[in-house]
């Protein structure tokens, strides 16, 4: 059983998850800002995270939201969201990361 577990794990680490593009340096910087500010407490990406804020997996391509909506909240906060006082460069990085996530959200676009 343990051998099956090791084999399955090795497959998950490689072919099983080889379905997304690799992040650029700016997208990596955006992810790092997303994590350092614990955005996952309130927001979800692919179902992982809290529920106080909206799901962000497809925030960029969503017709009712889009990059301007995301940028506004990042710059000024909202009724529930604190103002994190991000610089313009940091906002650009987070938007780039969210664009990357959206680009790889094939399951959302097929199923919904």
């Amino acid at each position: 059983m343990f051998i099956s577990y090791i084999s399955y794990t090795a497959w998950v680490y490689t072919d099983g998850t080889d379905t997304a593009s690799v992040m650029s340096l700016q997208e990596q910087a955006g992810k790092s800002i997303y994590q350092k500010n614990n955005c996952t407490s309130c927001h979800q990406l692919f179902g992982m995270g809290g529920f106080l804020g909206p799901e962000l997996t497809t925030v960029i391509s969503d017709k009712n939201r889009g990059p301007v909506y995301a940028r506004t909240f990042l710059q000024y906060g909202g009724a529930r969201m604190p103002n994190f006082h991000f610089s313009k460069e940091e906002v650009d990085d987070v938007i780039a990361f969210l664009e990357y996530v959206d680009h790889n959200a094939s399951t959302y676009k097929n199923d919904k």
Binding site: M1, S4, Y5, Y8, T9, V12, Y13, D15, G16, T17, D18, T19, A20, S21, V22, M23, Q28, K31, Y34, Q35, K36, N37, N38, C39, T40, S41, C42, Q44, L45, F46, G47, M48, G49, G50, F51, L52, G53, P54, E55, N64, A79, R80, P82, Y100, V101, N104, A105, S106, T107, Y108, D111, K112
Partner: protein, 458 residues
């Protein structure tokens, strides 16, 4: 200072276990307090938004409740291990060092959360270097455990297997949860999230092994029947649990665009784990009727409530494991109901069952005297938790309907306010009931650990 040194010198496995249990129960109370603040922030969004935002209250709540499960389970293992093996604990000193590390970890993580220093990883939101201390403390626990048990597992009861599995897999999954630090995992969102779900899903399986093992030992001790935990049925369910621990995590990843094989594997195996304990408790109840009914009344009552929670969570888990339903429930509070039902409903009832069993041994007089009081508080806890759980499901269903209608997020949150009010109110009652249960327990443990004999206090 001298009193502290005297106390340390008088330590044995039971006192070390008691220290861990007290640490776990304090974590639970503080964790529930932050959970209540988080609940209020759902109803009143500006509440402490800048001073103690949800971004801080949620990790404080989650970490402290998880710490409750691990610390209390570790405490019960320390307390029961020599009785379970018939051998002395390998090292009391290692136990004391492990406890000191655990206390240090708790203080440092809470401080970092208050200061807003995060790794931003779900459930493990503290900076990753702290995990090195957590793993070091766990290695000490593993040394103490494996050096205290017989070399051969041939005739060991199932709870020894369960504890061993939980200890090993916690180490593996905690390490796996940090693979994101490597660019190969971090820079591919699908790989990162899938491996994170894999590690966390199996980690829950690992702590369940620790908690269930403890409950199985308690059941055996109450019923006096040593064959239960050596039966083929018990081992069949243990291996089924192990299979779940290894492979069922994928039901969290239906929406992640990884290979469909991950989803198929998890769907097939999914959620039979809760059946395992339900079956064992069911068997135990039959034999219990012939056992010492009156003396162990409260532990039995708690295990029976756990049985009920297993049933409710099993139904919910099966429903949300169906991909067509999961599509609508993911991203709603139905997922939270599943997690809360499992952590508070099942794990807390089981751990409290074990703690009450210990208290019966520690202070029979107090337990007898406070039986009605505890019974009332346990019922209050379960009713509040049921209301809490149902309101989370109601909120999840309402949100799912609103999402299908493409309502704006602010509109959805406005619609959900009545549900949020109910679950916050019920959450405060859960906290109150646990306060009622835990205050006399703390007093008893304090007297036991410090060695003070004062009948008036108890």
């Amino acid at each position: 200072m001298q009193a502290l040194i005297k106390m340390i010198n008088s330590m044995d496995h039971k006192k070390i276990g008691s220290l861990f249990i007290v640490l776990g129960l304090i974590s639970l109370l503080i964790g529930l307090f932050f959970g209540s603040i988080g609940g209020l922030q759902y109803i009143l969004p500006p509440f402490l938004k800048e001073q103690l935002a949800f971004q801080k209250t949620r990790p404080l709540h989650v970490y402290l409740v998880i710490n409750f499960i691990f610390s209390t389970a570790a405490g019960c293992i320390y307390y029961f291990l020599p009785s379970a093996t018939g051998r002395k604990l390998y090292s009391v000193k290692i136990g004391i060092i492990q406890f000191s590390l655990q206390l240090f970890i708790l203080l440092i993580i809470v401080s970092f959360f208050f200061a807003g220093k995060f790794s931003g990883r779900e459930y493990l939101e503290f900076p990753p270097w702290i995990s090195l201390i957590i793993l070091s403390s766990w290695i000490l626990f593993m040394i103490n455990f494996f050096k205290s048990i017989p070399l051969s597992f041939n005739h060991s009861p199932v709870y020894m297997w369960s504890w061993s599995t939980g200890l090993i897999f916690y180490f593996i999954t905690m390490t796996e949860a940090h693979l994101w630090l490597l660019p190969y995992f971090n820079n591919n969102i699908v790989r990162d999230l899938t491996v994170q779900w894999k590690a966390l899903g199996s980690m829950v399986g690992a702590w369940n092994m620790l908690v269930y093992g403890t409950s199985m030992f308690v059941m055996e001790s109450i019923s006096g029947d040593k064959t239960i935990n050596k039966s083929k049925t018990a081992f069949f369910f243990y291996f089924l649990g192990l299979t779940n621990l290894m492979f069922n995590w994928g039901h969290h990843t239906y929406i992640v665009p990884s290979s469909h094989i991950v989803k198929d594997v998890s769907f097939i195996i999914s959620m039979t784990e809760l059946l395992i304990l339900g079956k064992i408790i069911y068997n135990f109840r039959k034999s219990y009727i012939e056992a010492k009914l009156k003396y162990h009344h409260l532990p039995f009552r708690l295990l029976s409530f756990a049985d009920g929670w297993i049933f409710l969570n099993l139904v919910l888990a099966i429903i949300i494991s169906v991909p067509a339903i999961n599509l609508y429930t993911h991203g709603t509070h139905i997922t939270v109901a599943h997690a809360m039902g499992a952590t508070i409903g099942i794990n807390t009832m089981l751990l409290l069952g074990s703690v009450f069993f210990i208290l019966d041994e520690m202070n029979e007089v107090m337990m007898e005297r406070l039986k009605k009081y505890f019974s009332f508080a346990i019922v209050l806890l379960n009713i509040s938790l049921l209301i809490f759980w149902v309101s989370l499901i109601g909120s999840g269903i309402a949100k799912s309907i609103d999402m299908q209608q493409k309502d704006l997020f602010a509109v959805i949150m406005d619609h959900l306010k009545p549900y949020f009010s109910v679950f916050t109110g019920a959450g405060i009652f859960v906290m109150t009931a646990l306060f009622m249960i835990l205050i006399p327990i703390f007093k008893t443990f304090f007297l036991y650990i410090s060695g003070i004999k004062n009948k008036r206090l108890i």
